[in-house]
Subunit: 339 residues, 2 copies
DNA sequence: AGCTTTATCCAAAACGTTTCGGATTTGATG
DNA sequence: CATCAAATCCGAAACGTTTTGGATAAAGCT
């Protein structure tokens, strides 16, 4: 490994000059700069990022903490799409990404903040956290550590967030069902620990009330965002609430489970049950029936997260909150109400 | 940020002693160790990994270079599953992951080796590279940089690889079709720059010849592993080779395209055309018809890659090559030949 | 007592860079 | 000719660790 010293020796100048030449300072003669650059090139010199970070206190690295990185996460590739967006924008802006998972045992002993401090990342992007995650508090209190949260509405000088308009999205979904004539519409929600669940519930409620349909808490089930949860919820609906003709689910994954439940009960969507999902995961367009759903652009969310974080890191004055739009995609899992 | 010096001062010992106490050396009195640990705890001390790396020359970080991290990559989540496996094993073994994409512009100017050198990762895992990728040569020649390749059969002291038994897998796929009575079987392959394509072609050929069916190179199409490529290939087959009753595709993604082409031509699978794919992506089980395919465990591949790389990094004597098994999954896209 | 061993500690160097605070030279200016 | 400014360079400190090569004191042995 050639170091800055080797170059200094070869060029007959001091390390200071080499450093300043290579970093484009103006107090070095153009000729010596070229000489130094030529030598650096010839020795295929690469600055040691570790050494540099030690003195500058910057690593040009952002930590990405995704709770969904595990064997099951592959089915809905939401986390992956987010990661792709983060990665693309980060690389464009010449930042690197240090990936942390929270699934392993390590999480228990080390907090995010510790991880980040230890590895000296400049900032972090967190996704998939539960609302009452103990580490979330850490983030909020530890105000000097810049980070952006995905789908968690918190803001301060050093924390921003990006999310989608979940209330509107859910309202559009339910509005679509109402437009088809459905009046008894159940909801399969995620869980209370997700901000998006609260918002989507709110959207569901507003759409109903806007149409003069009373909101009935009994019609709201929790599926925990898991396929199995969707299965169980639909099973219950099918047996206990035979008046229900349509379901709004807070995730496509749960719809997959719900469809299996319907099949098990000898019923079909959309003939005996209209369903609209959320997310527009890859499977949604291909499964049977293809899902009517609310599309949210996770790639864009990741992209914007990276942009926001780096804006913050580089002291640009910028809004701490980004809300992206979602969009109703009508496919074949919904049909006019027959009753 | 509390440093080792702060602790030394607080404990009334030298920094050497603090370092040795915290790192479990045996030449420090148990009482002083406890005292030091208590103080470290109280000051919530976290060792600065950057400073440590500078002297130890180790970062406990592995670079992960995936070519498939981009907006399109989300549909088949193969890269993501691999990443999950890598991540899980790496975290278990207390390594961190630095993510590099190759999609962006940066790639053109900086090679992988440069990236890795610059960021001082201890080793790297590369996936999605083409056989004649200019950087691959770099890897092979730069023999002092440890890395493991996914699906590229290269070996040396510092490079290992993990892959699946593609020849067997392809042979099983084609054997399944032959068992159903098919004799005119086309293949939609990926591209020549992928080792897996060569192997799968070999498996296709062997299965045919094993059944006494002559191998006809005209029946092999290249779809580039892209959905559109599958579409086009199937279109050609449908119009120019009406004798073909079955197709073996080197990826499920291309099958999705092929199915669209069939539909466009007013034909259906498996009635008018049996198709078996490869990969068993998430969509495969849900699309219509559900795909008969060869399952390969990408998560496991990632997991094993991480294990292999870290074994190499820690100087454990271990085989440089890992071959995982694949498995035929029979669903509904294949049916007995009617002719 | 003198010697060796053992246990415990530490000063200083090293890692590769950036940066602070000048130093030196050159040319222009009054 | 003395002074000043600009251009160009450099020595040394600093970043926070680990590690080398002892130093010191206490204990054990002959």
């Amino acid at each position: 490994m050639t170091t800055i010293k080797d170059i200094a020796k070869a060029a007959g100048v001091s390390v200071t000059t080499v450093s300043r030449a290579l970093n484009g300072y103006y107090d070095v003669n153009e000729k010596t700069r070229q000489k130094i650059q030529a030598i650096a090139e010839k020795l295929s010199y690469r600055p040691n990022a570790v050494a540099r970070s030690l003195v500058t206190k910057k690593t040009r690295t952002i930590g990405v903490i995704l709770s969904e990185i595990n064997r099951e996460g592959a089915k809905d590739s939401l986390a992956f799409e987010t990661l792709c967006g983060i990665n693309d924008r980060a690389t464009e802006l010449d930042y690197d990404i240090l990936l942390f998972s929270t699934s392993s045992k390590k999480q228990k002993s080390k907090s995010y903040a510790d991880l980040c401090k230890e590895r000296n990342v400049d900032g972090a992007i967190l996704s998939g956290l539960r609302l009452h995650d103990p580490y979330l508090e850490e983030v909020v209190h530890d105000t000097d550590f810049p980070c952006v949260l995905i789908d968690i509405p918190l803001e301060s000088r050093e924390v921003g967030h990006v999310t989608t308009d979940n209330v509107k999205g859910a309202a559009a979904a339910v509005g679509h069902l109402i437009g088809l004539g459905h009046r008894r519409i159940a909801m399969i929600n995620g869980h209370d620990e997700a901000a998006v669940s609260r918002d989507r519930l709110e959207g569901y409620r507003r759409a109903l009330e806007g149409a003069g349909i009373p909101f009935d808490p009994q019609l709201v089930y929790n599926g925990g965002f898991r396929e199995e949860g969707g299965f169980e919820a639909m099973y219950e609906i099918g047996y206990n609430r035979k008046d229900v003709t349509a379901v709004f689910s807070a995730s496509d994954l749960m719809v997959l489970g719900a469809l299996r439940a319907l099949e098990r009960m000898g019923r079909k969507a959309p003939e005996q049950m209209s369903i609209v999902g959320y997310d527009d995961i890859a499977i949604a367009a291909h499964c049977s029936p293809p899902l009517t759903t609310i599309r949210q652009d996770r790639y864009e969310m990741g992209y914007q997260s990276a942009q926001l974080l780096i804006d913050m890191l580089e002291q640009r004055e910028v809004g701490r909150k980004i809300v992206l739009h979602s969009e109703l995609v009508v496919r074949k899992s919904t049909a006019p109400c027959k009753e």
